[in-house]
């Protein structure tokens, strides 16, 4: 019994924290206690996960969940994104007009869903955690109740997301019908490529996952939801949900669909190419910063999928994707945090015009934003460059030349829209007198951490070693 619980302890700790926060808010109404509980939950979860680093693989609940090094790596990534999002919201909740305790509780619940998702090994747990994560994020995107845009975003996300979950469930049931089991490792043996039912099931499941990570052609919700949701939620979505979605995709592909790798790889190649093209081209004309970053995240999904597309001959591509995701968290969280932080009079800097002259009024903010944009673009010596380099390396090694060509062409396109905010910040005069209402130390810490990691991962990418190891365990 304890072994089972040990397995899901990271998720349990976060859930416990979430419920505790809601209770305390109901009974005691002490804000600092809420913060402490959240920090403690995250920290204990992280410590527990890190302690398991050398301990080998463990399964729990009759093989429903598995705690291998892939899980560990991804859980650390998810916890990092949760922590940074937490820092984001703690002081700015009043600015957003959100109920802080519910927000934090939902954040923790969503993260616990993500953790379970990464660890899940059979369909029911997968679907359960998928929904825990999704529903938390649906609510979070609509949590500013008075904002019409936010409500629209939440509704869109909920409706389209429910469709995607339905696809996922239908796919799972078809596969169950074809193979007679819901455990991924058993499906791997029984999946018969001649059975159209099974193939249909696979396709439907892939659709469900592709929706979650925002891949073309299932990306329609991304720009509207990213733009409408409160920036703090967008940051959490773009980092955590993406990591979780990719992780479950990787795990299902490697441990579940192992017999039909080439078919899956073909599908993913097309999706990857389309995402890169659509994401980069549509970002070119955007003037709303959040929308631009939304399209850019579609493009980055495309780049990361290149690694997955090479998985049929070898696993190195998956290591590259894992590394890419880990590096991507910091870039994207950092840029969204700055969008929220850099506004005039305490508002957010949502349009690109709001970035005008930022270099003169707030030089450090401008410098950090430049670091994040340059990293997203992929210029050394940042994390974004190294992750792209790793993906290209794997792609060239396994002769995915078309994908590489598309990636390079679209990266050249992306130069323009990534550097446009830089231009506005440095090469234009500030429009009016700028004042912050108050300095938000948490946000500043969060931005600084993201920037430091962005550069650090670019210079000393020792995380590769971890991603190698974690992917090896998938087989």
């Amino acid at each position: 019994m304890t072994a089972d619980l040990n397995c899901i302890l990271p998720a349990l700790l976060l859930m416990a924290g979430a419920f505790l926060i809601v209770l305390i808010d109901l009974l005691l109404k002490r804000r600092d206690l809420i913060e402490y509980i959240a920090y403690i939950a995250l920290l204990s979860s992280l410590i527990f996960t890190v302690l398991r680093l050398g301990a080998g693989t463990a399964t729990g609940f009759q093989d429903a969940v598995i705690f291998d090094s892939f899980s560990i790596f991804m859980i650390i990534a998810i916890l990092a994104s949760c922590a940074l999002s937490l820092l984001f919201i703690i002081n700015s909740a009043t600015r957003y007009n959100v109920p802080l305790s519910e927000y934090i509780a939902l954040l923790l619940l969503g993260s616990s869903g993500m953790i379970l998702l990464v660890m899940s090994r059979e369909f029911i747990t997968l679907f359960l955690s998928f929904e825990i994560m999704s529903i938390s994020v649906y609510i979070l995107s609509g949590i500013t109740r008075r904002d019409a845009l936010s409500n629209e975003a939440s509704l869109k996300y909920f409706v389209i997301g429910s469709f995607a979950s339905a696809f996922l469930l239908y796919g799972m049931s078809l596969i169950y019908g074809a193979t007679g089991t819901i455990y991924l490792n058993e499906i791997a043996y029984k999946l018969n490529r001649d059975s159209p039912v099974a193939l249909a099931g696979v396709a439907l499941m892939l659709i469900g996952f592709a929706f979650k990570i925002g891949a073309v052609p299932f990306h329609g919700w991304v720009p509207d939801v990213y733009e409408g949701a409160p920036t703090a939620v967008t940051a959490f979505m773009s980092a955590g949900v993406k990591v979780a979605g990719f992780s479950v995709l990787i795990r299902v592909l490697t441990q579940g669909f192992g017999l039909i790798p080439d078919l899956c790889a073909q599908a993913i190649t097309i999706i990857s190419a389309a995402s890169m093209i659509v994401g980069n081209i549509l970002a070119l004309t955007q003037t709303n910063m959040k929308r631009m970053l939304a399209y850019s995240s579609i493009a980055h999904t495309g780049y990361a999928l290149i690694g997955v597309a090479t998985f049929s001959p070898s696993i190195e591509g998956l290591a590259a994707t894992s590394f890419y995701l880990f590096a991507y968290i910091f870039m994207t969280l950092g840029s969204f945090t700055i969008i929220s932080y850099a506004g005039n009079y305490g508002k957010e800097a949502l349009e690109i015009k709001d970035f005008e002259g930022l270099a003169k009024t707030r030089p450090w903010t401008a410098a950090f934003m430049t670091i994040f944009l340059v990293s997203l673009l992929g210029i050394p010596p940042t994390a974004g460059f190294f992750s792209k380099f790793y993906i290209f390396k794997v792609a060239i090694r396994y002769e995915q030349y078309v994908l590489v060509a598309i990636a390079i062409a679209t990266t050249i396109l992306s130069i323009y829209y990534y550097l446009r905010p830089v231009m506005y910040m440095y090469m234009r005069a500030p429009a009016e007198e700028r004042r912050k209402i108050q300095s938000d130390i948490n946000m500043e810490v969060s931005i600084a951490i993201c920037a430091v990691f962005t550069i650090l991962i670019g210079i000393l990418p020792s995380f590769i070693f971890m991603s190698f190891r974690c992917v090896r365990d998938l087989f």
Binding site: A367, P380, F385, I415, L419, P461, I464
Partner: protein, 485 residues
């Protein structure tokens, strides 16, 4: 191994100092300026020391530095110099120092000097790196600071210029990245010295060569990838133009020498006629466009295209004399074109105009300036006695003897380009300096100030020195060039 650590220091010191200067709050601009000056003088001094000790080294490749960096990919921090690298690094440090000096009065922001130091690291590192990944990192490192320098402190059309510059350059670099990854995977290492003998299939070689070629051709710039150059040079501030023309262009030709030519000999043979056509077209086209320009800076920019076409011709003629001439021309062109931009900057400071027809009769009012301008202009043309002549004659001589059978034709056409350069340079000189003073307010112009003299003087001296004693450079590069061929 004192010298190896010195090399490591030289490459990374500007980076560290620029980061420190950026991070520490509350520094006065004058402090940053002095820090920048001290750093570049220090680098120059160290490089001079290395230059002198290079002669006593037994191997061609000296002062090696090798630290494993990313073990899983076999990437090392590997620095080394040979004669070509050393000459280019020396040029880099000299021009960096001069660009700091020339901006002292005009640009007061401390971030400008921080960016200059960053670019210096990028340039020095590119010339010293012997690991392909490291080479790429330093290559890209120069792009963003230059983007900012053009975009923030440049001329009226600077936004267009800096975007054009960065898109062209990054596009080329990304193609090079693909090439680097491919060849590193084939050879299982990123080390330049080990990859040289790699054997590849013909198609592989051709495609890889093309990838590297495009990246370097954009940087050089070789016709038809040159369209970013006039805009970038014209809109950049003086220091930016000096570094852009003086060093960044040479990074392209250095790339040819270090990577493209040695790694893919068969592909070079296949593409040589094509490349020679492009370079000769560049020579003539650059010269003719220069003749038609009304803006002095644009004229100098086009003359750069012309000269660099000559360098590429020399490199791809592939015999000892022409490649030696090409490397010497790299140094010479850096000096003379750098000086030209400095001189234009001086007159622009005073009068805020730089049209070819805007002046007249300056010689009577600014005799010192006129003299220096004359020396530099003649050096650019290639008058015997000054540095330009030696390099140009070596390139022409070598390419005349080239193995490719149409080579003499190309050499003759290129020689014609030299005549053209005389036309546009002397015409420029006459319009600006001789004749009557056209605008009355120019009666009161000051001649060269002490500071300007300070930074022009080294160039003038070197120009004359290299004209008479080119062996200073040639001796050093000879062995390296032999090795390449």
């Amino acid at each position: 191994m004192l010298e190896s650590s010195l090399l490591l220091l030289i490459v990374f010191a500007p980076l560290v100092s620029s980061l420190l200067l950026a991070i520490i709050p509350g520094l006065k601009p004058s402090f940053v300026k002095s820090a920048g000056l001290v750093m570049s003088v220090f680098i120059l001094a160290c490089l001079s020391y290395l230059y002198l000790t290079y002669h006593s080294q037994s191997e061609i490749l000296a002062f090696k530095v090798d630290y494993p960096w990313i073990k899983q990919f076999n990437i090392h921090i590997k620095l080394a110099v040979d004669g070509i690298s050393l000459s280019m690094m020396f040029l880099t440090s000299l021009l960096s120092l001069i660009s700091i000096l020339c901006s002292l009065n005009s640009i007061k922001d401390k971030s400008f000097y921080i960016l200059l130091l960053l670019i210096e690291t990028g340039m020095l590192g590119t010339f010293a790196a012997f690991d392909l990944f490291l080479f790429y990192i330093f290559w890209e490192l120069t792009i963003i600071p230059m983007y900012f320098i053009i975009g923030i402190w440049g001329g009226p059309n600077r936004i267009y210029a800096c975007i054009k510059f960065i898109i062209y350059t990054i596009a080329g670099s990304l193609l090079m990245l693909v090439g680097i990854i491919y060849i590193a995977l084939s050879g299982n290492t990123f080390d330049i010295t080990q990859l040289k003998g790699l054997s590849l299939s013909t198609t592989e070689e051709n495609i890889l060569f093309l990838l590297f070629f495009i990246a370097f051709a954009v940087k050089v710039p070789l016709f038809p990838f040159h369209t970013w150059l006039p805009d970038a040079h014209v809109e950049a501030p003086t220091a930016g133009s000096v570094l852009l023309a003086g060093v960044l262009l040479k990074m392209g030709t250095y790339g040819f020498l270090r990577i493209a030519v040695p790694f893919f000999p068969q592909a070079v043979e296949v593409f040589t006629p094509f490349i020679m056509i492009l370079s000769v077209v560049g020579v003539i086209y650059g010269a003719m466009m220069a003749m038609a320009q009304g803006d002095i800076k644009k004229l100098v920019a086009y003359s750069s295209i012309s000269h660099m076409g000559l360098v590429v011709l020399g490199i791809f003629s592939l015999n000892l004399i022409s490649v030696q001439g090409a490397t010497l021309e790299m140094v010479n062109h850096g000096l003379s074109t750098g000086a030209l931009f400095l001189l234009v900057g001086i007159i622009y400071e005073r009068t805020h105009r730089r049209g070819v027809n805007d002046f007249g009769g300056l010689a009577s009012k600014m005799p010192g300036y006129a003299t220096i301008f004359m020396i530099i202009a003649l050096s650019s043309i290639g008058l015997p006695g000054l540095n330009g002549f030696v390099s140009e004659i070596m390139i022409l001589l070598g390419s005349f003897q080239g193995s490719y059978k149409l080579a003499p034709v190309f050499a003759c056409i290129a020689a014609f380009g030299i005549v053209l350069s005389a036309i546009y340079m002397l015409r420029l000189y006459r319009n600006v300096f001789f004749g009557k003073i056209t605008v009355s307010q120019y009666e009161e112009l000051n001649d060269i100030t002490t500071l300007e003299g300070l930074y022009l003087l080294p160039i003038v001296c070197l120009v004359m020195l290299l004209g008479v004693f080119p062996n200073i450079i040639l001796y050093v590069t000879q062995k390296a060039v032999e090795f390449i061929i």
